[in-house]
């Protein structure tokens, strides 16, 4: 628009000079200059340029809104991934702990199992008995305690678990006492080791 105004000014300021120098050309100049025909396309250009800029800004805005929305999503997912990873580590730690030989031996003993130190085999092909079978003598109870495992402190034996078909997740070590995860309820109930 200001461009247009400048043009008009130019022609007006030029006109007296032209009148003074070449008076004959004065009429022709007035007829030729047609500001309106020059002005209209420039407005369209300007408008379209502004519209383009606007569109770019809007698109950029939407894009960055989208990206930051994604950032929040990533952040939330990352956090839940970390949490799930912690849970997985924690439960696998519990699993490894209860599958340690000390835990298995103590539980087997608690259930009344004894180991037999005299191996004997039955050969299926001909029914031959290999070795000299004798009955198990029964080991000393609590022998598992001879090979200590500090991680098992406070972990109950299967026989000490509350009856009634509930498996209690393993209480974690001493520092975490009181913060053990809540009891896991099993729908149909785990078989409780009440019989021997």
């Amino acid at each position: 628009m200001s461009d247009n105004l400048a043009r008009v000014l130019t022609t007006e300021t030029l006109r007296p000079e032209f009148t003074e120098r070449t008076g004959a050309d004065e009429r022709r100049h007035i007829e030729i200059v047609s500001p309106s025909t020059h002005t209209r396309p420039r407005v369209v250009y300007a408008l379209s340029a502004v519209a383009c800029v606007g569109a770019v800004i809007v698109a950029q805005l939407l894009l960055s809104v989208g990206i930051s929305q994604g950032a929040y999503e990533i952040s939330a997912l990352r956090a839940s991934q970390v949490e799930l990873g912690r849970t997985a580590d924690s439960v696998s730690e519990d699993l490894i702990r209860v599958s340690s030989p000390q835990s298995l031996a103590a539980n087997a003993e608690a259930l009344g199992m004894v180991s037999n130190s005299t191996p004997a085999y039955l050969q299926l092909s001909d029914g031959a008995v290999l070795g000299a079978p004798t009955s198990a003598s029964g080991g000393a109870a609590g022998a598992a305690g001879l090979v200590p495992n500090a991680l098992l402190a406070g972990v109950p034996l299967v026989t000490q678990l509350p009856a009634g078909g509930q498996g209690t997740s393993v209480a974690s070590g001493a520092p975490a006492a009181g913060t053990a995860p809540a009891a896991v309820t099993v729908a149909d109930g785990l078989p409780s080791p009440t019989t021997r």
């Binding site: 191996p119 090979v147 974690s172 520092p175 975490a176």
Partner: protein, 587 residues
Amino acid sequence: MSSKRRIAATVVVLVAIIGVFVVRLVDIQVVRADTLSADSLGNRSVERTVYGSRGEILDANGVVMAGTVMRYDVALSPKNATTFTRTVDDVDTTITVADAAAEIGAVIGQSPEKVVALIKESLADDPKSDYAVVAKKIDVDAFRALDALDIPWLYLYQNPGRVYPNGAVAGNIVGFVSSAGEAQAGLEVGQDACLASHNGSETYERGADGVRLPQSTVTTEAASDGSDVITTIDSDLQFFVQKVLAEQAQKTGAAWGNVIVQEVKTGKLVAVADYPSVDPNDVSATTNPDDRGSRAFTASYEPGSTFKALTAASVLDAGVATPESQVVAPYRYLPENGANINDSSMHDDLRLTLSGVLIESSNTGTSLFGERLTDQQRYDYMTKFGVGTETESGFPGEDPGILHPAEKWDNQTQYATMFGQGLTTTALQVSSIYQTIANGGVRMPVQLVSGCRTPDGTLTDVPAAEGTQVVSAEAARDTADILEMVYQKAWLADTWEIPGYRAAAKTGTAQMPDGNGGYSKGYLVSVSGFAPADDPQYVVSVSLADPVNMNSSAAPAPVFQEVMSQVLKKYRAVPSGAAAPDLPGTW
């Protein structure tokens, strides 16, 4: 006032203003650019340690014996420890320091007073104190509980910890790390190069609400995980062996003891039990620092009569005797060189074969056979059997034992070395001697670690598995037969009998040094042997030091019996079918 001067003034003012801006711009963009951009980044960017996890130590079946877990340290800022407001479900609660201390204490198992005292003490030391450690290495459950408390002046840090799921099972072998994560003992030290991980770091930028900005993560240093060490130990058997050893050691009042189970064909150590054994999860519970290592590897002593098997194998291999060769073994033997050899108990002259010498465990009889070889010949056999050098196990601080060169043996030592005195061996070296005899005279390198498995699964540092022929197969077979006679006919035959299997074994009773160059009153009693005798699969070697309640090789014999039975059962060794050879012991 002309317009020219006005323009000039304007230009001057403009130039001055622009000049100020330019100076400022250069100052910000060029002179202080680095400082300022670092400052601005510091306000938005966060640096984070990415922990590489130390490799695991696994047993032969992949059971984790040492693993890395994420633990958390808890610290608080004493200067900021004040009453705060907690909003739960739009309900504001005011939490005082005492309330918070009670909540923290309940989670980490400390009294609230202790937490409050920590804050007060820290502030007394330094009123601006911003950091005081409340608890170290708490687990995930405790971490979550503390995190949920949302106490603004309580901070939680990651701190990877080491965990030993099997406790004292192979604790002496696996070793342990310090609370700072530095390897302290056992394979943790010996295999540190394989296990070690490398922590890395990354930076990222975050918004005012703490959300990580996309595409802003820069890994400044890549973290790398350690490799896993795969051992030859069978943790189940190891547990059984440790239990049996501990039972018998306590019953007999032994100071310490060890049991080694070795695979005959490969030289792999399947179990190396030590008593007392350390629980790497709770090292301080083992008060004596010597009990925290593995004496099977690091303690050498005079082996005593178990060594006679080596002398027998040597004379048989050299062809100077057969199992039926005859000698008259007196109670006291005074060789020409001036040595003085006598047996452990008074007896008349015995007409013994080489087999009989080992059955009776006669020192004089062994001397009469041993002197058929030169000192240098016997020295060479000993070194080929591995005496005097540490084994190939790679255990840190392994003791090579003491074997002086033959030319340095004095008159008594020349004879004493025939029956296991005047030199020292570790329990491992004795086991290796029996492995050689059981394996047709081929000594396999002692193997404790079967390799280092990198995170991408490739196995490196696989130890050599090339055996060396120490004595001929015939000599080894004859020695094995003699040892089987010992197992059948020696005074402990009923104690160590394994029904259904043929076995070979030899006892040893050696005086222990008192630490001042002399002997103490205690004995180191041992049994070494292998089974099944017709196709040897496993060597079991038991040692008990100073069993005050039973100071003879009757103390380790039941351990040998129980462990060998379990080994044969576990690995499904076929019970012996053929009848045992019958070698005459006397003539």
